[in-house]
Every structure is written in structure tokens, then in C-alpha cells.
Symmetry: C2
Subunit: 457 residues, 2 copies
Amino acid sequence: MAQKPSIPKGTRDFNPEQVAKRNYIFNTIRGAFETFGFQPIETPSFENSETLMGKYGDEGDRLIFKILNSGDYLAKANEQAYAEKDALKLTSSISEKALRYDLTVPFARYVVQHQNDIEFPFKRYQIQPVWRADRPQKGRFREFFQCDADVAGSKSLWQEVEFIQLYDTVFSALKLEGVTIKINNRKILSGIAEVIGASDKLIDFTVALDKLDKIGEEKVKEEMRAKGISDEGISKLQPLFTLSGSFETQMESLKGILNTSEEGKKGIEELAFINTAITELGLTTAVLQLDVTLARGLNYYTGAIFEVSAPAQVKMGSIGGGGRYDDLTGIFGMKDVSGVGISFGLDRIYLVLEELKLFPETVNKNVDVLFINFGDKEALFSLKAIKQLRSQGINAELYPDAAKMKKQMNHANKRAIPFVVLVGDQEIESNTYTLKNMVSGEQDKVSLETLIVQTKK
Amino acid sequence: MAQKPSIPKGTRDFNPEQVAKRNYIFNTIRGAFETFGFQPIETPSFENSETLMGKYGDEGDRLIFKILNSGDYLAKANEQAYAEKDALKLTSSISEKALRYDLTVPFARYVVQHQNDIEFPFKRYQIQPVWRADRPQKGRFREFFQCDADVAGSKSLWQEVEFIQLYDTVFSALKLEGVTIKINNRKILSGIAEVIGASDKLIDFTVALDKLDKIGEEKVKEEMRAKGISDEGISKLQPLFTLSGSFETQMESLKGILNTSEEGKKGIEELAFINTAITELGLTTAVLQLDVTLARGLNYYTGAIFEVSAPAQVKMGSIGGGGRYDDLTGIFGMKDVSGVGISFGLDRIYLVLEELKLFPETVNKNVDVLFINFGDKEALFSLKAIKQLRSQGINAELYPDAAKMKKQMNHANKRAIPFVVLVGDQEIESNTYTLKNMVSGEQDKVSLETLIVQTKK
């Protein structure tokens, strides 16, 4: 019976302090989502397999956690696959459900399924865990939360403007200054591919360009050549590699490069609209930056592409991202619903706040007062006061056993409880409470009213 | 591609109103948990199968959702089971993880795994979903939330007292008056079994007794006879079937029945302690009631047993339950850790509040103000005001497109948005806002300051 318990790799237990810190981030994001007019939905942890499979590419399919059918799941097993011991082929006959892989596909499914009850444009947010059978590594887990806000059913560029404001609002509220919101547009990338004669190699081209930060100019060019992009085309890209300066300066260079591409010019127009509006409206602490190498899930995005970087002093990948996808619900047969949305990377934001010591000191909602237990009579007297304290929102508790005083005081110390109350015969007789401040060591006999005032933060 | 999307049976989508109502209940429970000194933990959605399997009986094992191993899961399949197509035997070789079935076993696992970091007694709460492959039916789902508070490492009866207060606090805060907190004690049931000479048939005896409410006295007796309990024993039970009156009156009758059983007398002593304390402390809206037929998961509980009934005017099963289990962590090899805890049944509480119309009108955090979009210039002017409103905590949004006025007003109506703001040339010139109250129909030209005051609830 004496097994040593553990949890599956890539999963985590969260202790009270961690839960409190995570909730601080969740609540900040949720608060901003709501002032921006987003409303919450929740979807089931598992979906029918056909809802998820095929939506994230082959690699995604492999990383989706499948749930074994209940009961005699072999009764309906695909006979040929079973005979051939072909796991890949067998799966769909013994597993009909799978754990959610992200929040976007379930959202698209939700929109289609409930389209008659939804008033469009539909601004929804969703904060729920997702699961991926990825190889666990530092900062990458098999169970993690996503915090998404999306709008379905509006092509207006004001949405993009508002999402930039939303990022700024959340990170400012978290006191995380120095965040960079990078923006690009799929149409810019298509335009460039067109200009260099590589429209048919858009994905290869952007995948290579996306690596500029990591592997440098020469390697990017090498990769492009390997994918069959001509030297002539690559030479036309040269200005891209050296793009710098303000948003406006970069836009001027881009205009030069893209002056023969209708799509490219449309992309520039969209970016200019967004940048002008943001300049007019102002950001509190974040900076908006054009990044022509930004591609992210390009297969997916059709317009704006966002990515958020933590302040430069922290080594950390992106802490958020998103973009516009013109055909959100097409995978479920509902046409012409444009989607645009952003996501916050909870785990990385947590690490950044931790590293920069930005969690408020009061984040951990600890117990405010512990009443020492000297016996049943004293405990009952104490519980009457505790009842009053709790009704005032004070977190109060009675040490459950009449253990040795020293043990009880140690308990208060180890849990960093700021106040301890001692109630003995004297206190009961005089209807008072001995209140000890565990930080200063000061001790006072006080009335119930004073006790409430002193322990209420 | 045109699949009609749906979700697995027994699961649910929650729309914004439902999420808001569920959060209202969660937040009320969470707030009470914290004032009572409980601290939150969270555990992974899936555990290693060996952590869960065998902890809930054969039926439980069957109802646990198993997750298929990733990759070529057949490579390690049990060959004999595979050859015999024995699903039951095959499972453990192709599935190593399983979805959480309740929050108590993961809590026990957590306590054992982190015992060196925990300061006992450990008061934890946990609000997370659990999954069961039960047959779905009205009010029974395959994915549902549990809200548990437990204390590990204290045998003090003050915990039982506090849990009764906690139930009372939560249901009073939810304005759900007329709740009955039923209490029993495993020692009472053991004592009765002893007295009627059926100690070896304790489970059969209590399972039958537990049905008294549903099937009546005669059928209960019949079942006991069928299980081999003697007529003489059953006749000694007679007073049980007619127990009535106050807590104290019933206790007197019980004392008579149990005067030859040491264990029974211990049970009476414990109940008396709890009842006296609760009488002294007083409950706000709930009533504490002795119910000798209450058994619940008897295999499990060793002391107090709790169950909460909704007000009599609502037809609903129990909306909460719990009890004392002296060997919480023994299943994971850690001895002598007593546990006691209670659980709130979120889904049923939701149905009760809905039926009695007890959700506050303001529960649905809707958008407070919609700004009508007359074009880009007006939109930009509006967004500047919206930014101010949001910073004041007002949920405000801009209609994203410069659609026809009527369409935009309809949108506000359908979403029951209470205020609409109209901004045209005149307003921009005079730096004012036309504020329309969508309920009264009144319309006023106001300054930004007034706009904030009027729309802030």
C-alpha cells in the first residue's frame, strides 16, 4: 500500500501562495476583459475528437490527449488496425473524445453551435486550462491555462486598435512596464513574397524570415535559397534586414518595397490606420513596434499579427500573441465570420512578475488572526469573537486543539499569521482579548471593537 | 467540411450569463472559505492512474476517464490481454493517466507528497472540475465542479462545529434561507449495529437504513431481514423509525437505545458537544438537525457525517455533504492524519437559486455603455472617452462598424445594454456626449464627467 505518490510529468500542484499569485494575474486580466466589453464563456474540457482532430496539423493531432472510451472499448475497435497493431489507425475506434488543445477551436465550435443565440459581433473571453502532450521542459507544461479574448463577426480595424489598448491596460495594471507590442500584417508578408516572386512559397519564406532574430541574416538567406527562392528575390529583401527606426520610418521603407503589390499596399494601409489611432489614443506603459519578421501561426492569420515581448531586462519568450483570422468558423461550415483575438501567456507572465518582484505583498490572502486554544470554555468564547471578525471579512481561525502554547505560537509563526489572540479566564471575565502583533511583538488587552479595527486591513 | 458541431454527452457549454451566475456562487463560497482560514490549492486535471485506481471501489474504477498514452501506445500493450481482446486487462498497459474523479484523493496525495512543506493542521480548499463516466441524466454531468474545504491533521471536534458554521455562512450569504444541515455520526450507526447484534453487517444495515426516506419503514425492514438481520434485532430498532422532536429529544431516545454500546455512547458524546457549541454560537439562517438514518459514504467516514438539504419548497437532493475520515492519507502510506471536510454541490445550488430567483439582478456583468459608431472620426473621439470610462471600472465599448444607426441600437437592445452614447459633429465640437438611457428612453447632452457619474453603477 505504501506507494510514493507523484504527479504526471508536465503537470503541477499549486500551493496556496502560487494559487493566490495566479489568481492575481487572472483577476487583473479578467477585469480588463470586462471593462473592454468582453463576456465570459466556458466550454467542456473534452470535445468530440472530430471537433479537434485535423485542426492543428499532423503535429497537433499527435499532441492531443485522447480519452479512452468507457466500458469494453475493444468491442468497436477497428479490426484491421487491431490485427496490424496500428496504433495511429486504431485510435479513432477506441477513443471518441479528446482534451481541449487550445481555446480557439472550441470557441469556433461554440459560435457555430450557438449561432442562433449569439448577438454578433460577439466579444467573448475564456480563461481555462488546455492540454498538450508536448515534451515537458522549462516553462512548457502539459496542462496550462490560456486567457483569450476574441471578437467574432466584425472586420473593423478598431478591434485591432482596442486589442493593443487591452494589452497595454493589462500590463500596466500588473505594473509590468517596458512591454513591447509587436505588430505585423499577413498582407505585408504576402506582398513581399509577391514582390520577390515567391508567392507560391509564402509559408517557406515567412518561416525563414521569422527566424531572423534567432539565426541571423545569413542563415535566413541560406534557408530561403534552400527552399528555392531566387537570389534576385533575396536581394530585393535586403532593405527588410536593416529596417529600423520609428514605426513611421519603417513604414516609409516598406512602402518603397511594396509599391507594386496591391495586397502589400493594403497591409500598409491597415497598419497605418492602427498606428495613427494608437498614437492619438496613447498607451500607458507599453510601446507599439512594427516587426516585419513577425509571422507566428501564419497559416492561420489573414490580417494583423500581434506578439508581446517582456521588458528587455528579462530573458523570456513572448508573453502574449494573437491576430486576425478571416475565416474563424469555416472549419465548422459557417462562412464569413471574421475573428480577431489575443491571448495572454499566464505561466510566462507569472515568471516575469516573480523575477521582477512585481507581485503585491498582499497578494497571498493569508489568515489575519489566529486565536490560541486554551480549552473548550476559552475556545467557545473565542469562536463567538471569531464569528464577528469573519462577518467583517477578516480571515480568522481558532487553533483546533488545546495544544501547548509554544506549539500554537510556532504554528502562527510558520504560517506568517500577523496577529494572535489569547483568551484566558481573565479575558473572559472582563470580556476582552489579548491581541499580540506577531511582527512587532507588542501585546495589548483590547475590546472586541478594537480587535476588529486592529486586525482589519 | 460542413460538420455539425456538438459536444460530448454529459458536458456543457456555459454562456456569459451562466458563467456569471456560477462565478457568483464560487466567489461566495471562496470568500467564506477564506474568512474561515482555508487556503486554496490546485492539483492537475489528470493524475497517474495508480493514484486513482482502486480508491473508489470497482464501480468508481469503471467511471474514471482514462487517457490513452501518446505515440505508439500499442508498443507496450499487455500481450496476453491484447491477444484475448480483454479491454479491462489491457487498459493499464495503454493508459497511464486518468482524469481526476473527485478532489479528496488528489488532496490526500498532495498532503503526502508535500508533507514536509505543509504546516499542520492544514486547512485547504479546492474548487476544480472533476470527471465521471456516469450515465448522464438530469442534474448529473460527466464534467462538474466540486468545492471542497478540508482540514488535515486535527481530531478536534471544533472543526465539525466550524464546518456547520461555514455551511450556514455560505447559504446565508447566498440568501438561501431554510437550509437544513443534517448530522449523524458513524459511531452512532456502529453502536446501533452492535446493539442489534449486526456489527458484522454494518454496511448492509446502514445502506438499508439510509433508504428510510425513500422507501419507508416496511421496505427497510424487509431489506434488513433479507440481509440476515434478525427479527429481534429489527424490533430493537423500532424507536429509530419514529425518532422525532428536537435535537435534544432525539438524543435522549438514542441514549436509551445505545446505553450498552461504548462506541454508541462516544458518538452521542460527540454529537452533544457539537450541538451545544452550535446552540451557543447560533446559526444565521440554517437549522442543525440530527438524522440517525444519514449514512452517505459510510465506508469512508469514521466520525461526523453531514448532509445539507435545500429548503423544503424545492424538490432537490442534497446540496452539500461531508464528514470525518480518520485515515485520510493511509492509502498513500502516511498514517494518523485525520481528515474532516465538507463539499458544496455547485450545480444543484445553481438550480435552487434559479428556481427561487435568488441570483442578484446585477450578477451578469454586462456592458454598461455602448458608443454608437458614426465613422472613423467619431469613433476615435469616442474611444478617447471610452478609455476614461474603462479606467473608472465602467464596462464600455464602441460598436465596431459604422453600421446603420438602427442596427446598432438593436444590438444594444438585444444585449440589454443600459446606456448608449451618440457622438456626432456637434458633440465633437462642443466636447459633449449624448447619453441615452435605454430603459427610460431619456436622452441628454452631458460632459465626460457627468457621463462617468451617470454610467458608473
